[in-house]
C-alpha cells in the first residue's frame, strides 16, 4: 500500500472561545495548516470533519465548515465516534488517499463545547453511558472512569497520589504550550485539596471542556515526498472497539479497544512499544493515562501508577507522554482532540516543539479514545 504523509499541520488556541463560531475556529487551524504545507487551497480535493454534532446549534457541521473555508465544491464528510471523532477523520482521510480516490485531504477537528447551557450539558452528561441499563442510575463520565480507578487501585495498589502525578506532569508541560487552556503548574497539595467529583476522582483528575480546532493536511506518497524531510509519515492506523455497556467488558482495569488498536498500529508500522519516543494519549481523567501506559505496552498491566511516579513518561524518561499538556491542561474540544494530538506528534517529529521538544523524537503515536473506551484509535507516525 502506498504511504500517506502529513504535509501540513495547524492548531488554534484552545479555551472558552466565546469570540468565535465553530467554523471560525476551524478557519484558524485550517489557514495555519495551509501555510505550513505551502500549498494552494485548490490543491485540496476533499475534506473530513471530525466533530460531535450534539454540542452544536448548527446541525450538520461539515457543511458550514466546508463553505466557510472556501472548499466547496470538493467533497466533505463528518466522522463521529464521540471523543475520538478527530482520529476517525484522520483514519477516513487515510483510507481516501490510500485507495487512490483522493490525493490531498484536509482533516479538520473542531468543536464548540460552550454553545450549550449548563442544563443542556448536564442532560447530555447523563446519557454518556448505555442508557437502557446504566444511565438510569445517574452514571456520568467521571463516574465510569472512577469505577476503573477504584478497581485499578484494588487490583494493583495504584495510589491516590499516583493519579494526581499524571495531572501534575500534564500541567507542567501545558504551561509550555501556547495553545493550551491552562498554562500553569499545579502542586500535589493543591490537587489533594480539590473537590470530589466521583470517588476516588476529584476536580484535578478531570480534563476541562474547551472550544478549539486543529487541522492536518494529508497527501499521497509521491505528493508528500515533495516536502523533503519535513514530511511526517502516518505508518500505522489501528482502530478497535469495546462493548458499549461496561457490564459486557471482560474487566474494568483497561480498555480492550486500546490494546487491540495498538497491536494493529504497531504491526502495520513495523514498530514496537519500545520504539515510541513521544506519545499523546487520551487523559480525559488521570486514571485513563495510567491505563493507556499499560494498554499501549509502555509498561506491564498494573504498573502504570509506578510508571508515572518514577517519571518515566516525562521528557528524558522511557517515552514522553502528553508534553503538549494533554487533555488535562490543553483542554478537550472533543471533535478537535484527535487532530490536536496528531498536530503535537507531527510538531515533535519535525523537531519544532521548542520548549517542550523531545530530543531524538523519530517515532510517535496518538491514542484517542471515544466514550468510555467504546472506540480507540492508535496512530503511529514516523519522521520523514
Amino acid at each position: 500500500m502506498p504511504r500517506v504523509g502529513v504535509i501540513g499541520a495547524g492548531h488554534g488556541v484552545f479555551g472558552r472561545r466565546s469570540d468565535a463560531t465553530v467554523q471560525e475556529l476551524a478557519f484558524e487551524a485550517f489557514r495555519l495548516a495551509i501555510e505550513d504545507a505551502g500549498i494552494e487551497r485548490d490543491d485540496i480535493d476533499a475534506s473530513v470533519i471530525g466533530a460531535v454534532p450534539e454540542y452544536h446549534k448548527q446541525r450538520s457541521v461539515a457543511g458550514v465548515v466546508q463553505e466557510y473555508l472556501g472548499l466547496t465544491p470538493a467533497p466533505t464528510w463528518l466522522t463521529e465516534v464521540a471523543c475520538a471523532s478527530g482520529s476517525a477523520a484522520i483514519r477516513t482521510a487515510y483510507m481516501a488517499i490510500s485507495s487512490g480516490l483522493h490525493r490531498v485531504v484536509a482533516v479538520i477537528g473542531c468543536q464548540k463545547m460552550t454553545e450549550l447551557s449548563t442544563p443542556e450539558i448536564l442532560a447530555l452528561m447523563g446519557r454518556v453511558g448505555e442508557v437502557q441499563w446504566e444511565s438510569v442510575f445517574g452514571t456520568t463520565f467521571p463516574g465510569y472512569y472512577a469505577m476503573f480507578a477504584t478497581r485499578h487501585m484494588h487490583e494493583f495498589g495504584t495510589t491516590r497520589e499516583q493519579l494526581f502525578e499524571v495531572a501534575i506532569k500534564n500541567h507542567h508541560y501545558g504551561a509550555k504550550n501556547p495553545n493550551a487552556l491552562f498554562r500553569k503548574e499545579i502542586t500535589m497539595e493543591k490537587a489533594m485539596g480539590s473537590d470530589p467529583v466521583a470517588s476516588p476522582l476529584c476536580v484535578y483528575d478531570c480534563c476541562a471542556n474547551a472550544d478549539g480546532a486543529a487541522c492536518l493536511i494529508l497527501a499521497a506518497e509521491e505528493r508528500a515526498g515533495e516536502l523533503g524531510d519535513r514530511v511526517v509519515w502516518l505508518d500505522g492506523v489501528g482502530c478497535a472497539t469495546s462493548s458499549m455497556s461496561v457490564l459486557r467488558r471482560p474487566d474494568l482495569v483497561g480498555l480492550p479497544s486500546a490494546r487491540a488498536a495498538a497491536r494493529t498500529a504497531y504491526e502495520m508500522a513495523g514498530v514496537s512499544a519500545g520504539d515510541v519516543k513521544v506519545a499523546d494519549v487520551h487523559d480525559c481523567f488521570t486514571i485513563a493515562e495510567i491505563m493507556a501506559y499499560e494498554d499501549l505496552g509502555f509498561c506491564p498491566k498494573g504498573e502504570g501508577g509506578r510508571f508515572i511516579e518514577d517519571k518515566r513518561s516525562y521528557i528524558g524518561g522511557d517515552v514522553a507522554v502528553n508534553v503538549d499538556g494533554g487533555l488535562k491542561a490543553k483542554g478537550h474540544p472533543i471533535g478537535a482532540t484527535g487532530v490536536s494530538m496528531a498536530y503535537e506528534i507531527v510538531t515533535q517529529l519535525r523537531g519544532e516543539a521548542e520548549e517542550r521538544q523531545v530530543p531524538g523524537a523519530d517515532i510517535g503515536l496518538t491514542h484517542n479514545v471515544g466514550g468510555i473506551g467504546q472506540y480507540t484509535f492508535v496512530h503511529v507516525f514516523r519522521r520523514g
Binding site: 448536564l122 467521571p142 476522582l201
Partner: protein
C-alpha cells in the same frame, strides 16, 4: 412498560419490556436464548451468540459481589436530589453483571470490592406514577414477591 424502569427513563420501549413488569412484581430477570441457551444479565431479546430472536426470561437470585464502585458527587439532570449516591457494578452469582445503587442497608464507608450483596427490586414510593428500580443491599435482605405472571 420499560419506561417504568429507573428514576429517569431514556428508553420507553424494548423487546424486553416485561423486565419492568417482573421487577414490579419483585423478580429480577435475565434472559436465556431459546435456541442455544445463552444466558445473560441484563436481559436481551436477540442472542449475540447464535443470532436467534427467541428468548425467555430467567430469574436471577440477585446474589452477587461488588466488582467496583464510585460515589458520585456531581450528578446529571434528574439525579440532583440523590447526590451523593454510590453506583456499583455487581457480579451476579448466576451470571452476568448489573449496575445499580448501593441501598440503605450498606453504610457508605463499608462498601468494598468483593463484598457479598443482595440485589433487591424496589418501587419508588415517593413518585406517583409507577417507577421501579433495584438497589444493592446486605445479603439476607428480604422483599415481597408477586406470583409469577404468564408473559403470554
Amino acid at each position: 412498560m420499560f419506561g417504568w424502569f429507573g428514576k429517569v427513563s431514556f428508553v420507553p420501549y424494548s423487546k424486553v419490556s416485561d423486565f419492568a413488569v417482573h421487577l414490579k412484581g419483585g423478580r429480577l430477570m435475565g434472559s436465556e436464548c431459546s435456541d442455544c441457551g445463552f444466558a445473560t444479565f441484563p436481559p436481551r431479546a436477540d442472542c449475540p451468540e447464535c443470532l436467534s430472536g427467541r428468548f425467555t426470561f430467567r430469574e436471577s437470585s440477585g446474589r452477587g459481589s461488588i466488582y467496583t464502585y464510585s460515589r458520585i458527587a456531581a450528578a446529571p439532570t434528574g439525579f440532583e436530589d440523590e447526590v451523593p449516591y454510590t453506583v456499583a457494578v455487581v457480579d451476579l452469582e448466576d451470571g452476568g453483571r448489573l449496575l445499580g445503587w448501593i441501598g440503605e442497608t450498606i453504610p457508605e464507608d463499608e462498601v468494598e470490592i468483593g463484598m457479598e450483596v443482595q440485589v433487591v427490586p424496589r418501587l419508588f414510593e415517593e413518585i406517583e406514577e409507577i417507577r421501579v428500580t433495584y438497589t444493592i443491599e446486605r445479603p439476607g435482605t428480604t422483599w415481597g414477591k408477586a406470583p409469577a405472571f404468564d408473559e403470554g
